[in-house]
């Protein structure tokens, strides 16, 4: 009985310690981002890795998600004779919910995992220690540019995903199912407002980007210096990242209604 409580206490202290280390880590990243040198070169390279290389998967996924929303929306709205509102349904669902969440999940799988694996293998091959020996802060040189690149790329990828999904919905709803194109765009544009929908979408994608960046880089730098450590960091990033995104999505929607 006492043993069980002891284990619970031990576990709780462990969780608090872990959160503390994570906070110190995040503070370190924020400090190196705020202070010179700004390492523009490194940031551009990382934006290429995170953003430009994710373009293909984001655009393709956006197109298919928009197309399937067009199909589902059309068939289910037609039951109520409201298939004219297809644009509004596609637009609202994408901007408020599916755009930020699906983009974040895709980026976690494509770029977050790569980020964690890269840093973890640098830990394994003692490259981070090498940087420290040359008195280069690995957080400043390796971690911060990656984290910032994620924050820059996520809202842009989100916007591209949504626009491509609009086109996907248009292709299915208008070109394939024969709805009126003008009505599709009019109902879409009338349903969406900047203050509620677009700003909320941006807020979500910024929060998700920051979360993935922190999780991926933290899991990478704290990984065991072994081969299994690299795989554990990669898996952990994808699993924790995906769950945290979905939880925060609910919290943001519940708190601010976006």
């Amino acid at each position: 009985m006492i043993g069980a409580i002891q284990r619970l206490g031990n576990r709780s202290v462990g969780i608090v310690e872990e959160l503390g280390r994570m906070t110190v880590f995040v503070a370190g990243v924020a400090r190196t981002l705020a202070m010179p040198p700004y390492r523009l070169r490194r940031i551009v390279d990382e934006v290429y890795d995170v953003g430009a290389l994710s373009l293909a998967i984001i655009c393709l996924s956006g197109l298919t998600v928009g197309a399937v929303l067009g199909l589902q929306g059309y068939y289910n709205l037609a039951r109520f004779g409201a298939d004219g509102s297809l644009g509004a349904v596609v637009g609202l669902v994408l901007v408020r919910e599916l755009g930020p969440v699906l983009t974040a999940l895709l980026v976690t799988g494509r770029a977050g995992s790569a980020m964690a694996a890269e840093i973890a293998s640098m830990v394994t091959t003692e490259q981070l220690d090498g940087l420290r020996m040359m008195s280069v802060d690995p957080i400043d040189y390796v971690v911060s540019p990656k984290a910032l690149a994620m924050g820059i790329a996520m809202p842009l990828l989100n916007a591209l995903f949504i626009v491509f999904a609009f086109v996907g919905g248009y292709l299915v709803g208008v070109s394939y199912l024969g709805l009126d194109g003008g009505q599709y765009w009019t109902s879409l544009e009338e349903a969406i407002t900047v203050a509620d929908d677009i700003a909320g979408s941006l807020l979500k994608s910024l929060v998700f980007g920051a979360l993935i960046a922190v999780i991926a880089t933290y899991r990478g730098t704290t990984s065991e210096p072994t081969a299994s450590g690299v795989s554990a960091a990669t898996t952990g990033t994808v699993v924790t990242g995906s769950v945290v995104i979905l939880v925060f999505d609910y919290v943001i929607t519940a708190l601010w209604g976006v």
């Binding site: 551009v44 004219g84 842009l156 591209l160 949504i162 626009v163 969406i192």
Partner: protein
């Protein structure tokens, strides 16, 4: 990592296309306008606006000439609707504003019908003649009532 001009170009293209998508969502889809559109504003008070919302279109003879920018209650508890019209149109002073529905269950919009007056409406003035939204329930209720009266 070696710096490469091609990679820089791709990153630049990515950022530009992302910002363009964002701008499209904000200004075209979201309907944010940075400047006043140079058009003119009219007001119209209705007894019942039904389901009219902001950003609903305003049309003359079916042609869209502006949109609803605000709906509020005036001092006499009537619905005061602000109409933002595109520049270049002139409407006579005896114009009628009517709330209509596109299709049977479609969205509602404000239809303006020009009268034959000599003077023109100026920006900020109120349209005097208005017709409220046609309520399906009220219509059915009226029909049932009338039928009941005739039987007596």
């Amino acid at each position: 990592m070696q710096s490469s001009p091609i990679r820089d170009l791709i990153v630049g293209l990515f950022v530009v296309s992302g910002l363009l998508a964002l701008a499209y969502l904000t200004f075209q889809v979201g309907g944010l306008s940075l400047r006043t559109r140079g058009g003119f504003t009219l007001y119209a008070a209705f007894d019942d606006i039904g389901g009219l919302k902001t950003r609903a279109p305003v049309s003359v003879s079916g042609v869209k000439v502006g949109q609803v920018t605000d709906v509020e209650l005036d001092d006499w508890l009537r619905a005061r609707v602000t109409l933002d019209l595109d520049p270049g149109y002139e409407l006579p002073i005896d114009t009628t504003a009517r709330i209509q529905t596109s299709g049977v269950l479609g969205d509602q919009f404000v239809a303006l019908e020009a009268g034959g007056g000599e003077d023109m409406l100026r920006s900020g003035e109120e349209i005097e003649f208005t017709e409220s939204a046609l309520s399906l329930e009220r219509l059915v209720g009226k029909f049932v009532n009338d039928a009941g009266l005739e039987e007596d």
